[in-house]
Amino acid sequence: MTLIDKKLNRRSFLKVSTLAGGGMLLSFSWLAGCKPTKEELAAMPKEWFEINSYIKIGENGTVTLFNPNPEFGSNVKTSLPMILADELDTDWKNVLVEQADFYPERFDRQFTGGSQGIRSGWKPLRTAGATARQLIVNAAAQTWNVPAGEITTSAGTVEHKASGKKAGFGEMASLAGTLDAPDPETVKLKEISDFKIIGNSKKNVDGTKIVTGKPLFALDHKVEGMKYAAIVHPPAFGMKLKSFDKSSVASLPGIQDVFEVKIFKDDYGRNFFDTTTFPEIIAIVGNSTWEVMNAKKALKAEWETAPASTFQMAGRGGQNMEVKVPGGLENSSTHKEKMAEYITKPGNVLRKDGDPEGAFKKAAKVLERTYSAPFLAHNTMEPMNCFADVKAEKAVIYGPTQAPELIRQTIASSLGLPQENIQINLARMGGGFGRRAYSHHMTEAALISQKIQAPVKMVYTREDDMSAGVYRPAYSATYRAALDENNNLLALHVKAGGVPESPVHANRFPAGAVDNYLAEGWQIESNITIGAFRAPRSNFIAGAEQSFLDELAEEMGKDPIEFRLELLKRAETNPVGENNDYDPKRYAGVLELVRDKSNWATPIDGVHRGVSAYFCHNSYVAEVIDVVIKDKTPVVENVYAAVDCGIVVNPDSAANMGEGAIVDGIGNAFYGEMTFENGVPTKSNFDKYRMIRHAEAPKKIEVHFVQNNEEPTGLGEPLFPPVFAALGNSLYKATGKRLYDQPFQPKLLEMDNLSM
């Protein structure tokens, strides 16, 4: 991991002495309305001393820790500073947390996504905390004229036992801030057994602000002279703006201007998160949100079909790829027909072990099943929006984004300003789920502000948000298993694809556990834009795979957990192939834990149980779902989850996120669906797009963590993918019918004895 260490040297310990007073870093979020509480003010030191990029200590021992990553609800704003605080060896009650602005010179990887916040922050933040602690120790050694090695720290105090000298961190902060930072390589990190804060639940640092309605979100931001803007985008995928009649709204009350916004410069090379469905939109600017939203409805615009096009885009690894956007107005019914053709067509071979074709030829029995799932909209509760104040030389953007680094490049190009003149301040996001990795709402707001030469807050209506694309793709997967006459598994074959990407992770389980294995992928071009959605690809393929394994276990006459454990034993003791992504022992560990916690061995009358397990984002999860039939309706009663994500920094908060992922999975499995007719999304608000609601949530969710000392891995996503099959498998037990196509609710309604 030398790369990280080099970056640590270069960035994380940079001190910018002019900021020692802290004014600049603190000022923005306070101006945004997050005024400190009385308690915070009482604790507020008269003077701050910057120890490094992440840590400032006041003369009274109060510590300000900067959360580098954007917060979208996974609670990094609490758990990342917990890592800093533990290694700093301060008391959590001394800690204030501030959201850092986007500041790449000071912070590494200011990105929220891929469940990597804690995993990527683990070593840099531990090192930053430990380095600051060492500086306090060095300052005490200098002050007391004793060897640094004889000095100990505890809960924000520093002590030299031999001489009886003791001081608070605050008393040493002034000197510590002037000392040279020790080489991060030489700084000693705590032993895991010495953690005092990590592993002990801390409440959300923004909890009080949230429950009292303080302004925390970009949508809440306001400055003097600010205008409001709405946007109008084409009504269908495959359409673009032809013309609009400015006079249709120009005289409406409160309307200041109406104009076209073109997001990209012609010669701009798009980056990986530059997905946008409609690069040309109409902006309406006025004096209030309500007035611009009214004008939106009244605006007369003409649209035309867009021809097929191609553009260059940097791929995931930075390599350039050509993106084809076909013309035409697409239909979900056509997507289904095209996907069905691939069941019999060969796909692209992604992995092949042994002789799968031969094994299928000599099979006594072949089990083949095809699964599908539709497009999904992210539907963050806070619609896309952004505040922008663009002046001739400088732009200030305050918006909800998971990926400030890449959108800054885009905004710089579109505004014609150097990147360093674009200040991006990170707002708390009202949900992300992957959607806000694609942040063109920020480019749009910036261009609107530049045009009107005034600060502006742009907001999408729910309809704009839901019909603007960047969806979870529609997928289909066909699984085949070859069995001999004694029901032994000879071969497994997965062929899966989607509109417009394949969901196959070819080197994940059950690859490595089956002698003869074939994985194929395919994709169908589309002009419907897609993007990351909580556990991309895994969120479909896990459901298909784990439903198939359940049916296969039944066919083989085996308990579904026992069957998976047998496969994992094979992968552990005698793995097939070399590139297996997962650790079979840890995978088996979560299945064993969930079997124990759910009392799997003791069935309860009237309770129908399904199991599922999956590995993604470096973590292992197994889930058991209990369904009961009440008044002819299948009801999810209890959910048991077992998780191995290594060390858990903030256990109760981690459980909360796990509970949420499970509810999210149940909701999307039952109801989630976006379809298209002639390019038009058929749903654009919550009256038609059904979201899981309070009464449909499980009665009880238990999230159990495997206790180990492994370095932390992902958590925001891994509990989501297993839900679909755990639910499908339990519904099979409840109804006697397998569910192959999501969403499940319409299929359940077709069953004569059920209502939902």
Binding site: N204, G207, V211, M381, M657, E659
Partner: protein, 152 residues
């Protein structure tokens, strides 16, 4: 445009707006009370829930002209010190994830408890079904309402 005299969180306020303007936008854009959130605009998600004479209503579908003499309470005015039993229970259970829907959830829960201090699970389901939480904190919301019910 027309002048409206409103009583919000115990204070008299005057606004000069189009009579059709929903209370949501009067609160957010004209009175800087931004704790009440915009989610759907069609009273389907509950993010904009406020109290009108103590009843939970969706402010995105409530024109300012319909308020008349009714007293409005928003999340900012639910308690003086953020210590309403529902707010305290929310903190105790550490309910929020992203936090965006929670003001609406809390206003629905507070109205429920003021009218039904000891709600059953079904009562809670019915009162809270109009508030979507995309993060899926429903089980904690239910637990927090029960705690608030015991502590009220």
């Amino acid at each position: 445009m027309a002048l409206f005299n409103l009583t919000i969180n115990g204070k008299s306020q005057q606004v000069d707006v189009d009579p059709n303007t929903p209370m949501l936008w009067v609160l957010r854009d004209h009175l800087d009370l931004v704790g009440t959130k915009f989610g759907c605009g069609i009273a389907q998600c509950g993010a904009c829930t406020i109290h009108l004479d103590g009843n939970a209503v969706r402010s995105c579908q409530l024109p300012v002209s319909a308020i008349q003499d009714a007293k409005i309470t928003t999340i900012e005015g639910l308690s003086e010190k953020g210590d309403h039993p529902v707010q305290k229970a929310w903190l105790e259970h550490d309910v929020p994830q992203c936090g965006y829907c929670q003001a609406g959830q809390i206003m629905s829960a507070a109205a429920l408890l003021s009218q039904n201090p000891s709600p059953t699970d079904t009562d809670i389901d019915n009162a809270m079904n109009g508030n979507i939480c995309r993060c899926g904190t429903y089980t904690r919301i239910k637990a927090a309402i029960k705690t608030a019910s015991q502590n009220a």
